[in-house]
């Protein structure tokens, strides 16, 4: 059903979602070859290839491959998390959103941000103290390894696949726009580079790609913001006054629009973004790369600092673009101010870069956008590959008897397969609207991964049956609700009206998952369930103190 649904996608313009990846609204015009951008991107590729070569020589054990040997510092990991978390949609989509919708963009960014403090307060220490390579290490800690890991792997792979498709299609469209390369070439380049980084360099290379990308993104964004801000004498008051005077919405630009007027949608969206963040396998995996709980906490401090800072930079860029881009005929098709922006709505920040810093800055920012996609897909591929090799192969199929060398071999093969699948799907979905896929990925992460993960850490009463019931109930309800919502049922399947009136599944799917996990655990009176509850005692001490946790020295 899902497969048919996806294959029969029809082209449709659905925008306005912050998750909407650049160029996801369908086909975009190919732009002339951008030599500055290509040159800067090549520098990035050469640098990261050098790092991958160096990383390959240091990737010997499974721990090196999955978690960089647990030797990443909190600061490095903070940057890498920021690099993993802020995708091209953050830079392009959110700037465009502030440009057109003003304050709505700020609300989205707050929702994207607010999950981080809660991850720190409730999860960071426990993740590091209990986990080793994947988050299923935690959910399966005292439960039935085979069943719980299978479930975790299924939902991880679902999240990874939807996220990957969205990134690949976005990458192809974006590169076509920014670099003037052919769509298929762009998708193959992204897939191939990702496979090289991950198979040869594992987590060490992936981490450094993410760190470099985060530094480039922060630098590029800050530079554009400062250059744009000079035109307003660094006065926020002056900027807002000019922007609201000019914008069609006037001062209402700073009032929430109809995007979030419905309380159910608003809360559901915020829940999806917040708890989805805490259930994304590629983000959770980053917590296992640091030495101990201390560094894990520091990583969140740095990551949330960078993310929060950058969101405010984006807000200023969006406001400045209203004046600098919005009044300049050179950025509009046919030179008609207020018409269609050249390259589509998501190009706002690129035009802004060109307006304030010329072709060099435009090229740099385009290279940043490409690097951004690479960093995110590499993180995703590694998370997907580890679910296959560490959870499914080593623990479910081989029941823990697989050698480390065999497990690593499987993860490398899995990376190549995921890369090929991602390229194939990227090409297949070229002209489709895949905006709903990132929403779906967050929804599944929030409803299938997060409830079981948090319960396994906090609730002694959780049993294997309860975890399975909760995980699968969350997965199925999130997928069904998205399929029945407007973005798939109407926009993709062409039905006249949606079966489910809301776009965001989290507010419904999350309680279903929690309820199923609670109810089934409560009704589970088996001897196994009692043993599992008893095992919570030791797990609890380890979660609190880190005694017995996988450490860098142990590898």
């Amino acid at each position: 059903m899902m497969r048919r649904a996806l294959l029969s996608l029809t082209l449709l313009g659905l925008s306005g979602l912050a998750y909407a990846k650049p160029g996801l609204e369908g086909a975009v015009e190919k732009q002339p070859l951008n030599l500055h951008a290509i040159a800067m991107f090549l520098v990035f590729v050469v640098l990261t290839m050098g790092i991958t070569y160096w990383a390959a020589s240091r990737t010997k054990s499974a721990a090196d491959f999955y978690t960089a040997g647990g030797g990443i510092t909190g600061f490095q990991n903070g940057l890498a998390i920021a690099g993993d978390y802020m995708s091209a949609a953050t830079l392009l989509g959110l700037t465009a959103m502030v440009y057109t919708k003003g304050y709505d963009g700020y609300i989205y960014m707050l929702a994207f941000f607010v999950g981080w403090p809660c991850i720190l307060f409730l999860m960071a220490d426990r993740l590091r103290n209990l986990g080793k390579f994947t988050f299923a290490d935690i959910t399966a800690y005292r439960l039935n390894q085979g069943k719980v890991r299978t479930m975790a792997a299924v939902s991880s792979l679902t999240v990874v696949c939807f996220y990957l498709i969205a990134q690949m299609v976005g990458a192809g469209q974006l590169i076509k726009l920014l670099f003037g390369l052919d769509y298929n070439v762009a998708v193959v380049v992204v897939g191939a580079l990702m496979m090289i980084y991950v198979t040869f360099g594992g987590m060490i290379a992936t981490t450094w790609v993410q760190i470099i990308k985060a530094v480039m993104l922060l630098t590029g964004g800050t530079l554009v913001m400062l250059l744009a801000f000079t035109q307003f004498d660094f006065s926020y008051t002056k900027l807002v006054k000019a922007a609201t005077d000019l914008h069609a919405n006037g001062f209402a630009l700073l009032t929430p629009g109809n995007l979030l007027s419905d309380p159910v949608t608003a809360i559901s969206l915020c829940m999806g973004l917040m708890f989805g963040t805490a259930g994304l396998p590629h983000i959770l995996m980053r917590f296992f790369t640091v030495t101990d709980a201390k560094e894990a906490r520091k990583s969140v401090l740095y990551a949330s600092g960078f993310v929060g800072y950058f969101f405010n930079v984006i807000f200023l860029m969006g406001l400045a673009a209203i004046l600098i881009v919005g009044q300049n005929p050179q950025f509009f098709e046919g030179g008609v101010v207020g018409g269609k922006l050249i390259g589509g709505g998501n190009m706002v920040v690129m035009h802004l870069a060109q307006a304030v810093g010329g072709n060099m800055l435009l090229g740099f920012l385009a290279a940043v956008a490409f690097a951004t996609i690479l960093a995110v897909v590499s993180g995703l591929a590694l998370a997907g590959a580890s679910a296959i090799s560490h959870d499914l192969y080593a623990r479910v199929i081989k029941k823990g008897a697989a050698t480390e060398a065999a497990e690593m071999r499987v993860s490398k093969i899995a990376t190549i397969v995921l890369g090929i699948v991602a390229i194939g799907l990227g090409i297949l979905f070229e002209n489709q609207n895949v905006a709903f896929m990132v929403g779906l990925a967050f929804g599944i992460a929030a409803a299938a991964n997060f409830p079981v993960l948090i319960l396994s850490m906090y609730w002694q009463g959780l049993t294997t049956r309860g975890a399975l019931a909760g995980g699968y109930a969350g997965l199925i309800s999130a997928v069904l609700l998205v399929v029945c919502s407007k973005s798939v049922w109407v926009a993709v399947l062409g039905n006249p009206a949606p079966l489910f009136p809301y776009e965001q599944p989290a507010i419904f799917a999350m309680p279903i998952a929690f309820l199923a996990a609670w109810l089934v655990s409560k009704l589970d009176g088996s001897a196994q369930a009692r043993a599992e509850m008893e095992a919570f005692e030791d797990q609890f001490v380890r979660a609190q103190t880190g005694y017995g946790a996988a450490t860098a020295a142990a590898h």
Binding site: F113, P117, T255, K294, G305, Q544
Partner: protein
């Protein structure tokens, strides 16, 4: 073997005190963040006009921007506060408890 260490840690009153204090601290901060943020979301949903109103007559700062910026900065400061407390005070107690339990097991 490690199970015996876990049992000794669990029985240490200092451990129980640590757990109680740390979880009080982290739940308090989490509920604070969630309550403030979802309170804000409800205002967005039910009274968007208030969000778009200037904080003072003629000011270019609106309630929404000012409060949003305060959340960005404030929540980040809370993370800094938690990291400071957990990495300093709490981790010191935790290490002490683990060391005591481990030593006790040595012949």
């Amino acid at each position: 073997m490690s199970s015996a260490v876990y049992a000794r840690i669990r029985e240490n009153p200092k451990f129980q005190e640590l757990v109680a204090r740390r979880s009080r601290y982290s739940w308090f901060l989490s509920i604070l963040v969630v309550a403030v943020f979802y309170g804000f979301v409800l205002v967005v949903a039910f009274d968007p006009k208030l969000i778009g109103a200037p904080i003072a007559e003629g000011s270019m700062w609106t309630v929404g921007i000012a409060f949003g910026l305060c959340m960005f900065v404030g929540f980040w400061l809370l993370t800094a506060l938690y990291v400071h407390k957990a990495n300093g005070e709490f981790d010191a107690i935790s290490q002490e408890v683990v060391r005591a339990a481990w030593k006790e097991g040595q012949p």
